[in-house]
Subunit: 333 residues, 2 copies
DNA sequence: CTGAAAGCGCTAACAA
DNA sequence: TTGTTAGCGCTTTCAG
């Protein structure tokens, strides 16, 4: 592998000049620049980015910490990150988290080891001590789909989203509205809990009493959701509408309804949350939380911080949109 | 940020000794090791990986080049890669390809710029010149789901898989078998073409004449597949079974069948290809090509090459398994 | 077992 | 406009 020194020798110039050409410095005469470029070409030289990194202190790399890619929503967010990062000169290193201890290890080590210039954390809220550490590190961090006052965040208002979804069902005339979701208490993203709060709030605002029998939560995934939905549908006085904590679970509800011979939307309205692609295919009514966009915005915010060394944490809220498709309908006796 | 020099000073030793402790060299006395470790602890020192990389020439990073994460199969393979890489000391840098020119740029630059120790290419077959370049580079490359004689590969026998799928339908008594897929000619993965060849071969082996009307291909995606399926189902003499080039397309076929009131599997058998998670949920009969495993194997092969500097390219075939679920059934008039 | 010193390949003062 | 030189923070001979 040729080095900058080989190029310098070949072009009969100093290595600094080669470096200048490499970095488009203005103060190089046309002729020397030509000579250097010729030498680079002849030797098929590429500057070693590692050496450059050591010298400049910049790695041109962004670290992305995110849960293991089991849920479509993570993938969609990652797509957004990738898309936005491709426009920049930054690379992307993926740190996939499978357990709380792995997450904690990344939170602790990544900011200090100079491997990346910036950190993007997706759907993994840090605790106070971790946030403090991240805030104090000289490497900027942006949280996507997670909140901490000390850190920059791209946020979704899950409570509002939960209200939006529930209100939609109420507006359609439903009164017996089920809520089905992940476990409300989780070491990872507490979004299900917030959406639940929105559900409760919307009911309350409309003066509809909350029936604990209509609330069920359990392990994630389509099949577990179907199981929970079967339970709701088997109730003596089953709900006429179900709000599922996310689209995948809503699809599980559709599975269960189909299996039980319950017609959607005639006999049961179903609304999801997220706006993943599957919701499109299944014609699911849902709350679009602009997942892809969250990734794009996270990158934008991080890059901005990186370039301008802006100080205080920014908090940016993403919009929420009801996408009305075919799984919800006016309630009729 | 403290450096190795600060630690050395604090522990009253030379920097080489600190380095030895850092690298678990045996030739350090118990006492000095303790002193160094204490100093490291007190200063909260972490070695700078970039400096280490420059010095050792190893980056402990694997570059993964793959198509933009639009298809579940890429994601599933990536999951496998991530899973296997987590067991090693290597990091993962993602290079997502959105266009042929992007792909070519990565193929060209990544092997030469010392940014990564090894390269994993997913579902992107290089041409001869590119393969030659990759083979000659000192950075080892492993292809996953792509073949080139000059390079190590983790392979799926798509022709055989196509035969397997088609043979399953033939075994069930079907004679009018449709084949629906991506465009057969594509700058990316030619797997659809191979599966088509398998389809043709199986028909031929069973003495069933090929009917061009039963073959249709077009743009990827569930909705396009549904469109194509509608076309097949609207034929005067429609097929009694459809083999879709991948699971997503098979799900599109299910959509179209449902919409057209054609009962699956009673009136139409449908088989997919891949074994993605969606196939499980939709109870689709399919050919499982062990996507996750392909990622794991790719990493294993790459790491092996990295550690042992093994010379000649390895070619490894993944098994293919028919997963019989509920969308295929014995043909009955 | 330990330390001094020479790089790894580049950038960026500083001089010229 | 250019070249010389001193680092960036680490590993690794080579002496001792």
């Amino acid at each position: 592998m040729p080095t900058i020194r080989d190029v310098a020798k070949r072009a009969s110039v100093g290595i600094a000049t080669v470096s200048r050409v490499l970095n488009n410095s203005t103060s190089v005469s046309k002729e020397t620049r030509q000579a250097v470029l010729a030498a680079i070409e002849e030797l098929d030289f590429t500057p070693n980015p590692i050496a450059r990194q050591l010298s400049t202190g910049r790695t041109l790399t962004v670290g992305v910490i995110l849960p293991f890619l089991t849920m479509p929503s993570y993938v969609e967010r990652l797509r957004g990150v990738q898309h936005a990062l491709a426009e920049t000169e930054y690379h992307m290193v993926l740190f996939s988290v499978g357990s709380p201890s792995e997450r904690d290890a990344y939170f602790k080590d990544l900011p200090r080891n100079n491997l990346v210039d910036g950190i993007l954390i997706i759907s993994l809220p840090p605790n106070d001590a971790q946030a403090e550490r991240l805030a104090l590190a000289e490497i900027p961090t942006v949280l996507i789909d997670a909140y901490h006052s000390r850190l920059s965040c791209i946020l979704t208002d899950d409570v509002k989203g939960g209200m939006l979804a529930t209100q939609h069902l109420i507006d359609l005339g439903h009164r017996k509205i089920g809520f089905l979701s992940d476990l409300l208490e989780t070491p990872f993203h507490p979004s299900a809990r917030f959406r639940y709060q929105g559900y409760r709030k919307a009911l309350e605002d409309s003066g509809i009493p909350f029936d604990p029998a209509y609330h069920i939560s359990g392990e994630r995934g389509r099949e577990n959701a179907a199981k929970m939905a079967r339970h709701l549908l088997a109730l003596d006085n089953p709900p006429t509408a179900i709000f599922a904590g996310n689209d995948i679970q809503a699809i599980g509800v559709l599975d269960a309804a189909k299996e039980a011979g319950v017609k959607v939307p005639d006999e049961l309205s179903v609304i999801g949350f997220d706006g993943v692609r599957d919701s499109e295919y299944t014609h699911l009514t849902t709350i679009d939380q602009h997942l892809f966009q969250s990734g794009v915005r996270g990158v934008q915010m991080l890059i901005e911080t990186l370039e301008s060394n802006s100080p205080s944490p920014q908090h940016q809220r993403l919009p929420l949109d009801l996408i009305r498709r075919v799984t919800t309908q006016v309630f009729q006796e």
